[in-house]
């Protein structure tokens, strides 16, 4: 085996320049793949984290059907005690109860239909980024206090200290109305939130809308997005059967769709890149087999089976592929690490950035997966591309092969 390996290795350097060109194609695509995939997955993590952290959370406890209908009557009973029990069981997670409804919000001059959320003033700041994004005034504490987004404030022509009248219907369908005082205005940067929601203390909400201790959602954030599914399983086990626990893909289907769409378009690009490498490897393989026709003919005359010669050719590609993986992962890792420190502004990503609450400058991170997934695929495809020249050796007739120049 060592001798075969040595033979394969030396065969590579019979045409050092061609071998380096082939390895170069592998390394080039590997570096690109490592950088692009690392970058892409960092963006997805940010997208998920930022847009989930903003408001919807990693997962939510809801009554059955609420996710589709959003009806006021689909409630979680005794929501505050339930949330505090979960908080005790999962001290590392950020947990806050909410209730929500639709109201007509009116200032002295204008009216808009908005969603109003009752939130726990003590816990909402850790579960959502909105309380921290109050740029004018402060977050709600108790009583008839409300915060609204900048766009809504502009539309209603109100500012901190003004009054806001809300008209809607309560849980039992009866008329609900309240006059609230604006104590803060937030700027989340997410247009939907800034335009159409208001937050008031949960206790006030329950009173105004006749909730009798119930609410609509318990927002839960696991310590990291990666641990979310683990938390989800453990929390699910503790919840009563008549409640549902939705993860972020259900809460924000648009986010998942955006990621899936972006993934499939970039995989197309990666596919093209990998196919180009495959053709370069195929070309090298065919040439290296062709120019050794005579040599292979003699080896076959000595009784060496074509399959063994085919394996030799495959081994030669595997060696080039291994160098390609090593250099590709190394250079790609260095490049990614460099941009991980200095940051990287992506041209043409502004729209996604606004929609999913991303910073303008991104800092890609590296993981084992993003470092080796691309190069590994390039390796496999290179081997596949060599199967053809390797199998062609089966058709070689020793007599004709030895006659070849």
């Amino acid at each position: 085996m060592i001798l075969t390996l040595r033979l394969a290795w030396r065969n590579l350097w019979r045409h050092a320049r061609r071998t380096w060109l082939t390895i170069g194609a592998m390394v080039f695509s590997n570096v690109l793949l490592v950088f692009m995939i690392s970058f892409q997955f960092s963006v997805y993590d940010l997208m998920i984290n930022n847009s989930l952290r903003a408001f919807s959370g990693h997962m939510q406890v809801q009554a059955p059907g609420y996710i589709d209908d959003g009806s006021m009557r689909q409630t979680v009973a005794e929501i505050v005690p339930l949330a505090s029990r979960l908080r005790q069981d999962f001290p590392d997670a950020d947990i806050a109860a909410r209730a929500s409804g639709f109201v007509l919000a009116s200032s002295e001059q204008r009216s808009y239909g908005i969603a109003v959320y009752g939130v726990e003033p003590a816990f909402e700041p850790s579960a959502s980024s909105i309380p921290g994004l109050v740029t004018d005034g402060r977050f709600v504490e108790s009583g008839d206090e409300v915060i609204i987004g900048t766009v809504l404030a502009r539309n209603l022509r109100v500012s901190v200290g003004d009054e806001l009248t809300m008209l809607g219907s309560g849980r039992d369908g009866s008329f609900a109305a309240a006059v609230m005082t604006i104590v803060g205005i937030f700027d989340s940067g997410i247009p939907d939130l800034d335009r159409s929601i208001a937050e008031i203390p949960l206790a006030t909400f329950q009173e105004v809308f006749y909730m009798r201790g119930s609410g609509h959602q318990i927002v839960i954030n696991a310590p990291t997005i990666d641990s979310a599914s683990d938390y989800r399983q453990r929390i699910r086990a503790l919840l009563p059967d008549d409640l549902e626990l939705h993860d972020w893909t259900a809460l924000q289907p648009g986010l998942k769709q955006a990621i899936t769409a972006d993934l499939s378009s970039s995989f197309f690009v990666y596919g093209v890149l990998v196919i180009l490498v495959a053709f370069s490897v195929l070309n090298t393989g065919l040439m290296s087999v062709l120019e050794r026709t005579r040599e292979f003919g003699i080896l076959m005359a000595l009784g060496i089976a074509p399959g063994r010669l085919g394996r030799l050719v495959l081994l030669e590609t595997a060696l080039m592929g291994a160098i390609g993986i090593l250099l590709g992962a190394l250079l790609g890792g260095i490049l990614t690490a460099y941009f991980g420190v200095t940051g990287f502004v992506v041209p043409g990503m502004e729209e996604m950035a606004v929609r999913f609450n991303l910073p303008a400058r991104l800092y890609p991170g590296i993981s084992v997966v993003t470092l080796f997934a691309g190069p590994f695929v390039v390796f496999l495809v290179s081997i596949l591309a060599t199967l053809y020249p390797a199998f062609r050796l089966n058709r070689l007739q020793p007599v004709e092969a030895m006659r070849a120049a």
Binding site: I298, L299, L302
Partner: protein
């Protein structure tokens, strides 16, 4: 027992609308330990006959036996195994794997035969010494003369003690002194190991070493002479 037996072997090539009878009803029997020269003018059918005996090429008709085992109806894989185990080949030139040293060239075939690594190495060293290449074991083919390369090819052909060595114009690229040395090596192997040799050549010096001289013309055997 005969090492090689051919019965009524025919091989015809078509060239344009002309049939070329490369082998025309050839029947020969070569005993174990034979030392045979096959001589013919160019195009006489020497290579075709050697290839048929070595299972590199399948005749159109007739039967071929190696060690009384019929081989003309074996498949490709069986023929490869037969060559690997029983037959050593030496060709005119450029026989060796250029990127492997003399020793590695000899070892490579043994590795395919499944010989253990340490045994392989010592066998290769001793056979190279035997063919007079002691000290040149680590040279690559490009660093050796034609005669030295041909000896490596011979070493590779005989290292696993095949019963039969087929050599197709092994001296065509060698000067007369080197040719003599190679033929003396063949003679010695023939006497000491009873290896059967069939050597195709049109070199008179080579023929003088043979115990038996078979002359061919246009695919037919025209003469079969025992020599002293």
């Amino acid at each position: 027992m005969s090492a090689v037996r051919c019965v009524d072997v025919c091989k015809t090539y078509r060239q344009g609308d002309e049939d070329i009878h490369a082998l025309d009803h050839v029947s020969i029997e070569i005993a174990n330990g034979g030392f045979v020269c096959l001589s013919a003018p160019s195009g006489g059918g020497k290579t075709t006959l050697l290839n048929a005996i070595g299972g590199l090429d399948v005749p159109d008709s007739g039967e071929i036996y190696i060690d009384e085992q019929r081989i003309d109806n074996l498949n490709k894989g069986e023929l490869a195994a037969l060559r690997l185990q029983k037959i050593g080949f030496v060709f005119q030139a450029f026989n060796l794997i250029p990127v492997l040293s003399a020793r590695e060239n000899v070892e490579f075939v043994m590795q395919v035969q499944g010989v253990a690594a340490d045994k392989r190495r010592s066998l290769a060293m001793s056979i190279l010494d035997e063919v007079g290449l002691g000290g040149l074991e680590e040279r690559r083919p490009a660093e050796m003369s034609g005669g030295q390369q041909q000896r490596v090819a011979v070493a590779r052909a005989i290292v696993s003690r095949p019963a039969l060595v087929l050599a197709d114009e092994p001296t065509a690229n060698l000067d007369s002194k080197t040719s003599d040395e190679l033929m003396e090596l063949f003679t010695e192997l023939n006497t000491h190991h009873r290896t059967t040799f069939i050597i195709a050549t049109h070199d008179r010096r080579v023929m003088s070493y043979a115990k038996r001289l078979i002359k061919m013309l246009d695919g037919r055997i025209v003469d079969d002479i025992a020599q002293a």
